[in-house]
Symmetry: C2
Amino acid sequence: MAEDKPARSGRVARQTQRAQKGQGLGRPYILRNIPTYDILSEENLVRIDAAADRILAETGIEFRDDPTVLDHWRRAGADVQGVLVKFPPGLLREVLRTAPPVFTQHARNPAHSVQIGGRSVVFAPAYGSPFVMDMDRGRRFGTLEDFCNFIMLAQSSPNFHHSGGTICEPTDIAVNKRHLDMVQAHITLSDRPFMGSVTAEDRAEDSIDMARLVFGSGFVNDHCVILGNVNVNSPLVWDGTMTRSLRAYARANQAAVIVPFILGGAMGPVTNAGAIAQSLAETMAGCALTQLERPGAPVIFGNFLSSMSLRSGAPTFGTPEPAIGSMVIGQLCRRLNLPLRCSGNFTTSKLPDAQAMTEGTMSMLAAIHCGANFILHSAGFLDGLLSMSYEKFMLDADLCGALHSYLDGVKIDDDQLAVDAFAEVGPGNHFFGCSHTMQHYETAFWDSDLSDNEPYEKWQAAGGLDAATRANKLWKKRLAEFEAPSLDIAIRDSLDDFVARKKAGVPDAWY
Amino acid sequence: MAEDKPARSGRVARQTQRAQKGQGLGRPYILRNIPTYDILSEENLVRIDAAADRILAETGIEFRDDPTVLDHWRRAGADVQGVLVKFPPGLLREVLRTAPPVFTQHARNPAHSVQIGGRSVVFAPAYGSPFVMDMDRGRRFGTLEDFCNFIMLAQSSPNFHHSGGTICEPTDIAVNKRHLDMVQAHITLSDRPFMGSVTAEDRAEDSIDMARLVFGSGFVNDHCVILGNVNVNSPLVWDGTMTRSLRAYARANQAAVIVPFILGGAMGPVTNAGAIAQSLAETMAGCALTQLERPGAPVIFGNFLSSMSLRSGAPTFGTPEPAIGSMVIGQLCRRLNLPLRCSGNFTTSKLPDAQAMTEGTMSMLAAIHCGANFILHSAGFLDGLLSMSYEKFMLDADLCGALHSYLDGVKIDDDQLAVDAFAEVGPGNHFFGCSHTMQHYETAFWDSDLSDNEPYEKWQAAGGLDAATRANKLWKKRLAEFEAPSLDIAIRDSLDDFVARKKAGVPDAWY
């Protein structure tokens, strides 16, 4: 397992071939061929940096229930007053210099290992919903069966590169044990990279230990094989559960993803610029902490801005202000030379409808334009992050496919410019059969799994289905046809043993 | 009418006030505060320019059934062989130097006059569908009643800036007369700028004559008051109907919009770069023709790239390749220093569903990012341009509202950065009631007319409606509440007389 040699199976070989051509889907990750969309001037970026420095120096950040963190900050030269830490300007940027700008997260199938940072873009399913939905059964609490279903739907699509983490909460399993089932499911049902638990330090360590069973302890010490997504308790608080998990990942040389969740007007200022400055301050502090725990540990700079309804105060997602804010965060992150996680596919809609995909597409394109390297919430969310929808997952997967072509941009060379084809075809004639068309036809355009492009009458004769109904049929088909990737029986047994041992004699906890 | 003095009505005064604040909707047009998204290097743009020059010089463009055009080209120094015209490199760019980079299209309500070019963005409804759809009656041929309904829906929304043109074909009116009813409807039901007919030279002239009745002949000779959208017969053919209409608009100092419609693999190469080079060649030729007819006449550089399904050969819309292509066309247009029309809101979906808004949002954001000044197809299309949907129109109008905030970008100053608010609130507390939030709350975020942001239970209790159903209710409400803007009775009478006189004794033609 612990080697970077490509697997030999036919499917993987074909995928690798397509990836090497830079064409089509099934690549291990995307290398962006379009620039980031930089919307602010250097002068304005400097002003945001300065505002974040003032927040860090004058207001400070509280680090609760984790004395080790306070020791780290004291040694680094910060001003620690009880749990409140104030940072001299420049301190965090200096600490962050040891963090790698690019790293590889290894998959148990080496052909699926991903690069995180630089020009790479990695799509992972959404994370953290307590509910699931489908068009047949409506909304209900998620179970381990749902969790496994979503892993299988991700694994069977060439449009993702990562298996994700808590795709939905398996609420039928005790809170203190479900991380074991989740990590086991990722390893057995997928051969892509995955994420572990962060809800307690020992659960983070269990997750990493399970990765050690797959990859070997020595390999894990030198290579990133698992991610943990840790949240700031915005505004300006890091709680001990999160910092202990963050440190567990960093200590093991694994990558923490550092993410504030700022709902403008509630957990941060109601103005975009202020929320951005806060996000920068909070994320820099979390990223720096990983470097104090273990200099050189991989870490991902995250972002999660949101807006609210001015009428009700309810959170809104997929709106224009956070989309624009993401672009700015992307610029700020590149000044720090860290890998970026930004935005994702968000909506408050309760159905896989027009609203869901308007908001979803706007937020997902913001993640693309801002230069995000790791897009965690690429697929599935409805209901303001609270529900994973089977149909929305398939619709979003299709959008992820389109974004492969989008990120490929446009190639400019004599062949693509087709000047000879004009001479061949001439004014007023069609290009259908010309040699240039024949040569490029198969790879010219992205082809959707779900969109209907037929004439109206043909669509009507086929039942006049909407996109959500087509998505409903497709996820059932994909689950019915699913075949798990092969896994060494010794690894499978060692995981079974680990999970059984960890669960044995431990009473269930439900909070 | 023919003055630039703002109207005094309360509504307009409030709109003007908001527009001057640079906040909210109801502005006469948007001034973009985010940069264009420039995806290609200067070096690659030069290569596309060179490819277009080769197409123009070596293959050439046919101009059929309009000898005046051939005279124009001969005098300008082109190589005219029968109807085939070949252009020495640099000729078209030289001719285009007289075209204005920015101009104002005047509305009969001067507060609604729009700037076209530079940093301005103008949203107009979609154009040209033979069918209309709604959720109650399904698909049917469009009528004058539908046409008027869409004008009223656009006029009653603050999210548009322009009344558009042939919003749908009023197929119940004879082809040789419907332009009279359409222009009359735009003038009487809307007080925003509008477009006239291009389907025959005399219909173009009728349209302009009707504008003269509103604005006065002298004013029209010196100011743009009407647009005409003319299409290239791609590949590389301009037919006489279009060039005669183009010349009618230019001759009257009115703005032609010059638009190739290139479906890659059919009317142009299957590769994006080739279609872009062709589009540049065809559009430059059309734009230059306006300048030969009347140097200094306003003209808009248009673009309409499309892709096809590789399985069926059917046209596809809202896909990634044309979105990327639009960005390149925008860059090429800015090198010519012309106002840009790009892209719009496209989809092949037959319903106002998830597919419709995925494709619609991707294509509309491409129009925003590429720097388009005039976005003709902002709202309504379904069914691959063939149908105008009432519900889709409302959903798209809502997206246009969001794009106002998107184009406003993010303001960076001490107040927006909110550094003092952090000192006031401190770590771990909420920003709900702080003075900074109170001060900015009302204008902080765009607020949707259609999105549901309520908790799931509240949404369910309210009927559990999807976005399309909410849109269905909203268009009916808007039509029921519509009040036409006031119009001078003398102008109204003169239009009635004109239409009656033009129709009298002329037999209906239906093709």
